[in-house]
């Protein structure tokens, strides 16, 4: 009798654990099913026409690439630096705890607040631009890069450091040659995940990089840019009620999620593979 309820609980929890997988699969299939017909070479390389009802989304794609890439260029070094400090140099004192708290705090700030801040702080100096967008986005992604770097560096076995120091290398040389090399896969996959988040972010970018100039691909970091998520939002909001608009929206959503998956899936799988290798099933 008791065995019966035991099995029931196991089944119930197993079903619950399947829900995220089912949801993710459903969303992706839904978009694939509805958006596949919109995808074409013209769609990816063309410009929007008739106010976005027809044509392509190249400006949005380029906008996304520019803003996200510049963002990572800013957030990655700072994040790695902070992670290095926390993992290698920081003593376990109050200040370190404060730093950690602020990292968590930053991570919890709603994106819209960062967007407002970006608007007030950056746009008035730099205007709606790729640069503004990248900086504001970098603020958003920073906690992630810090966490990921720290975890990756901490995971490097102490023995490696001891061996290097015992051979006479300085601490920095040890970090640079040994620790970073060992932590590199974890850091890179973690940064890729951060890139995925950056690609998908809407509110912050809309309020700092603007909505782009219609029909033009941004040429300099000071030009405004429209990213894929922003484009999707605008189309969905304004013209999704027409069938062409809806088609474009599906196509945009599909391209966006394809980009997101292309960056996220390899890094998630790689991270899980490495974690399993190091820690076995307990990790």
């Amino acid at each position: 009798m008791r065995r019966g309820s035991e099995i029931l609980i196991e089944i119930l929890t197993w079903l619950a654990s399947l829900i995220p997988a089912i949801l993710a699969g459903a969303i992706i299939s839904f978009l694939l099913f509805n958006g596949a017909s919109t995808i074409s070479w013209k769609f990816i390389t063309g410009f929007p026409e008739k106010g976005g009802l027809e044509g392509g989304i190249l400006p949005a794609i380029m906008g996304s690439i520019y803003v996200s890439a510049l963002c990572m260029l800013i957030a990655a070094p700072i994040g790695i630096g902070a992670g290095t400090y926390l993992a290698e140099y920081a003593p376990e004192n109050v200040f370190t705890k404060v730093v950690r708290f602020f990292v968590e705090l930053l991570a919890g700030i709603p994106s819209i607040v960062i967007g407002l801040f970006g608007y007030a702080f950056l746009v008035h100096g730099l205007g709606f631009s790729i640069l503004s967008g990248a900086i504001a986005l970098a603020f958003m992604i920073l906690p992630w890069t810090v966490r990921v770097s720290e975890e990756a560096i901490r995971a490097v076995p102490r023995e490696y450091r001891y061996a290097s120091l015992a051979l006479g290398a300085s601490k920095w040389k040890t970090i640079r040659s040994v620790v970073y090399a060992a932590a590199r896969p974890a850091i890179i996959t973690g940064l890729m995940l951060g890139l995925g988040k950056a690609i998908g972010e809407t509110a912050v970018v809309m309020m700092t990089a603007g909505m782009g100039v219609a029909g033009y691909i941004p040429a300099s970091p000071l030009d405004p840019a429209r990213t894929l998520p922003v484009h999707l939002y605008l189309i969905a909001g304004e013209i999704a009620n027409t069938s062409e608009g809806l088609r474009m929206a599906y196509g945009t959503a599909l391209v966006l999620i394809a980009l997101f998956l292309a960056v996220s899936i390899p890094s998630i799988m790689l991270r899980n593979y490495f974690t399993r290798r190091l820690y076995g099933d307990a990790g």
């Binding site: 709603p110 407002l116 996220s264 899980n272």
Partner: protein, 291 residues
């Protein structure tokens, strides 16, 4: 030696940059919002009418606040039980390594899914279904709650399962050695021991839901004049969506724009309190697993 010192200082500055950024953000938001608060006082939180275009404009946030609370509350109500159950499975039952790996990967994927995509799917799929089933607009607290629940679920799962895995194995052995079954061990020993971590995950999930913008924005209705909802099928505005909608129309330096910043201050404080609580409960450890 000199390089080592330089590196230490450089990385220290990087670490300190988070503190700087947080203060910058809070400072600037406060800067813009303060004149508004000074003029209208905190009563703007309790005011009933949000009419920025009338003369004189009114900036009552109460309906919007209730909107945020109801949508987020519903989301947590849906996501928390499912999330904890799923976390129990992932942490306690072994199952085949491959399936479990797949489930964990899918959960981490769901964590990062762009909120605008989720909002879009909600818009074109969920809203029409709700409209057909219940009548009305379809845009509703219910739609917002469901979409937010989807976003919150993976967070709850990840943090809760970490908390459960952190319970020392010895306790399980001791319990089993006394003849307890697996579920009895989970219920009587493991879950109570993981209680604070699970609670933290729910609190963080709530904070997440309150701060979420795009997904909610697209399905929740955003009526022109927000009113206090009486059923979950009512359309509402939430704090975050208000900012996005009005941002394009507000003039820089106007009361309306400042009001938006004031909302930003409110949001900042709410999420800061939530994070402080969860951070305290979790004992100051940083979690990096996919959140």
């Amino acid at each position: 030696m000199k390089t080592d010192d330089a590196v230490k200082i450089l990385t220290f500055l990087c670490a300190g940059s988070s503190i700087l950024v947080v203060f910058l953000i809070f400072g600037y938001t406060l800067l813009e919002g303060l004149p508004f608060l000074a003029k209208y006082g905190l009563s703007f939180l309790t005011g009933l009418y949000w009419k920025p275009y009338t003369d004189p404009p009114q900036f009552g946030l109460l309906p919007t606040v209730i909107g945020t609370l109801s949508v987020s509350g519903l989301a947590i109500l849906l996501a928390a039980p499912m999330g904890v159950l799923a976390a129990i499975y992932l942490a306690e039952y072994s199952g085949s390594g491959l399936l479990k790996s797949f489930i964990e990967s899918a959960t981490q994927l769901l964590v990062g899914i762009p909120s605008v995509v989720l909002g879009f799917v909600g818009l074109v799929f969920l809203v029409p279904i709700l409209a057909k089933t219940f009548g009305g607009w379809g845009f509703s607290i219910l739609a917002g709650g469901i979409v937010l629940a989807v976003m919150t679920l993976p967070h709850v799962i990840c943090i809760s399962s970490d908390a459960i895995k952190a319970v020392p194995r010895d306790y399980r052995y001791a319990s089993l050695a006394l003849g307890a079954s697996k579920w009895q061990t989970i219920r009587r020993v493991v879950l109570p021991a993981a209680k604070s971590g699970i609670l933290a995950s729910i609190i963080l999930g709530l904070g997440n839901a309150i701060g979420e913008t795009m997904a909610v924005l697209m399905v929740v209705g955003n009526p022109e004049v927000p009113y206090i909802p009486t059923s979950i099928l009512d359309r509402v505005r939430v704090l975050t969506s208000t900012i996005v909608i009005e941002f394009n129309y507000a003039v820089w330096g106007s009361d309306q724009m400042r009001a938006l910043f004031a909302i930003g201050v409110v949001l900042f404080i709410i999420t800061a309190v939530v994070n402080l609580l969860a951070f305290h409960i979790l004992g100051g450890r940083i979690r990096a697993k996919g959140i």
